[in-house]
């Protein structure tokens, strides 16, 4: 009887090695490794910036204003928070998929780390933390650029940073978990294929109302909830729905983190 019970409910849901003590050591390693590759880090900032510039120059004039929570805002002020959210997503996914796959399967950095007191959970949390940190760096710079362009509407906009951290956490966890299932580089195509529609159809470029009766599909996109959070922060207009969006992202992160930690355990401790 008790053995059946143990089968259904594993004694330790997260596995015996779910001990998070030294994730910062992984981050320290990356800080040293990236000293020689700072150009890669800097370049990640430019992509959303170029998007913003092109939106401002091109679409802004065509579209005019968009209604956000009952007030009219210029199109670039509408799009900028969404680009900020998207760049938080892209940064997190980039770091937690391609880079992790390389370290896991080809550079085999984690194998070396696990021969030390580091645990698989340290590796997972460290990598996700690193992706988050890098995402924050971009978010801060992006917010600075928005402020410089006069697209920031109030001090509330600072809350867009924790919102981006939450987006980073969600997508880094999902990305890491997904990477543990990848067989090789060809599977990276799936990541690109999956993130593109998220970027396009998360009420990024149009308000959700313009999707009409298809709006519920947009709601399924995790990025949509992130965009809504950043937009609310930037506009300084808060409603109960913010809690709902945050809860969706938190729940997704939690599930993905558990999957990530368990998978990395089985992959590395054969």
């Amino acid at each position: 009887m008790s053995t059946i019970f143990l089968r259904i409910v594993p004694t330790s849901f997260l596995g015996t090695s779910f001990r998070v003590r030294r994730p910062h050591r992984m981050i320290e390693r990356h800080l040293v490794a990236y000293r020689r590759q700072w150009l890669i880090v800097v370049s990640g900032f430019f992509e959303p910036l170029f998007y913003l510039l092109s939106m401002r120059a091109g679409l802004g004039d065509l579209v005019g204003t968009v209604s956000v929570a009952g007030t009219q805002v210029p199109y670039d002020a509408f799009v900028a928070p969404a680009l900020m959210a998207s760049s938080a997503m892209n940064g997190a996914i980039f770091d937690s998929t391609g880079n992790v796959l390389h370290r896991l399967k080809y550079a085999r950095i984690y194998d070396a780390a696990l021969a030390t007191p580091m645990s698989p959970a340290d590796v997972a949390v460290g990598e996700i933390g690193w992706a988050l940190m890098r995402g924050q760096l971009y978010a801060i710079s992006f917010l600075g650029v928005m402020a410089a362009f006069g697209l920031v509407q109030s001090w509330w906009a600072l809350l867009a940073l924790p919102a981006c951290a939450l987006i980073g956490l969600t997508f880094a966890s999902i990305g890491f978990a997904a990477t543990t299932y990848m067989r090789g580089w060809t599977d990276m195509e799936i990541v690109t294929t999956a993130t593109m529609p998220l970027f396009l159809f998360s009420a990024t470029f149009f308000p959700i109302s313009s999707y009409g009766s298809w709006g519920w599909i947009v709601q399924l996109s995790p990025l949509y909830h992130g965009v809504a959070l950043v937009r609310a922060a930037n506009a300084g207009v808060w409603s109960a729905s913010v809690l709902g969006h945050a809860a969706v992202l938190l729940a997704l992160s939690a599930v993905a983190l558990v999957v990530a930690a368990r998978r990395i355990d089985t992959l590395l401790r054969k």
């Binding site: 550079a107 950095i109 021969a115 030390t116 007191p117």
Partner: protein
């Protein structure tokens, strides 16, 4: 008698239905250099990975320093150094960074990690390559760096999986010398090897593994005494005639082995065996008398040569 540092009893490792190791019983005493010897696929690395607490055991029990890897993995790993069969150096870091950042995984303060890194560079004769990218090192240098890295936490137990495979003879002797120095400092070592001379050189005690099981155990000398003779006469007959010659050599030594390219005659006195061969009117193309080695032990135990 001190408490053994490693105790494995009825230790088993399975991958799916396939049993890679065991059941095996092993005890390693503090200060000892212990070897796992065996051919490809014998289960040496699988055993080493269990001892290194990076691979969960399937059944049986394993204790290091009296601790259970399943519950005290990090505490045990803090006290051991691991040189895996294939180098797992960080190719995005310099030689020096590989050392001190690894020390950080053991919670060494940064200054201490860097101090030890400098020392270990000296030990591995890599000081002038401190800032090189790892990719640019030769195979032997990488191996030395791996060994240096495994020492960053001043381990009480060092696990070396085929430490000298792929090294030229000179590099191998340098490494043996380093390992001998560590032994004198009291570092317990467990190593695997394909090479009988290495085992003979380094190990106080060893087990011969074959197909996941231990087939013999003892000191190198005692294994040779027990499973071989003092000397071996190697006879090579013209290509293709070895097999035909084999029956005619019968009885000269205590036993003999027919290999594709030669016949090994095990005898206490090799020269006498050679004289007896000639007396029978046999004319080998070449004949060589040598001391028997662990290689012969392995051959006699398993019927196969070690390095194919």
């Amino acid at each position: 008698m001190p408490e053994p540092l490693i105790v494995a009893s009825q230790l088993v490792k399975r991958f799916g239905d396939f049993t890679a190791v065991g059941p095996i019983d092993v005890e390693v005493q503090p200060g000892e250099v212990f070897g796992f010897l065996g051919p490809n696929g014998a289960g040496k690395s699988s055993t080493m990975r269990m001892i290194a607490c990076v691979s969960p055991i399937t059944s049986g029990s394993l204790r290091l320093f009296g601790l259970d890897p399943a519950t005290h993995g990090p505490q045990i790993r803090a006290r051991i150094g691991v040189v895996p069969q294939l180098d797992t150096l960080d190719t995005e870091l310099s030689v020096q960074e590989n050392l001190w950042l690894y020390g950080r995984f053991f919670d060494l303060p940064r200054a201490e990690a860097k101090r030890r890194a400098t020392e270990l560079l000296e030990f591995a004769q890599l000081t002038d390559r401190a800032d090189s990218v790892v990719d640019n090192l030769s195979g032997g240098m990488k191996r030395r760096l791996s060994i240096a890295r495994s020492l960053i936490n001043r381990p009480e137990l060092l696990l070396l999986d085929e430490p000298t495979t792929g090294l030229d003879p000179q590099a191998r002797h340098v490494l043996w010398d380093r390992l001998y120095r560590l032994k004198q400092e009291g570092v317990t070592q467990v190593l695997t090897t394909h090479y009988m001379d290495e085992a003979e050189q380094l190990c106080d005690r060893l087990v011969v593994m074959d197909q996941g099981l231990i087939v013999a155990e003892g000191s190198p000398r005692s294994l040779i005494d027990q499973y071989a003779t003092r000397e071996v006469l190697e006879l090579r007959f013209p290509a293709g005639t070895n097999e035909a010659a084999a029956p005619q050599v019968e009885g000269i030594g205590e036993r003999q082995e027919l290999l594709p390219d030669r016949i090994l005659v095990y005898a206490h006195d090799g020269e006498a065996a050679l004289a007896a061969t000639h007396a029978r009117g046999l004319e080998p193309e070449s004949a060589l008398v040598r001391r028997s080695s662990l290689e012969d032990v392995f051959l006699l135990l398993t019927g196969r040569t070690l390095v194919d």
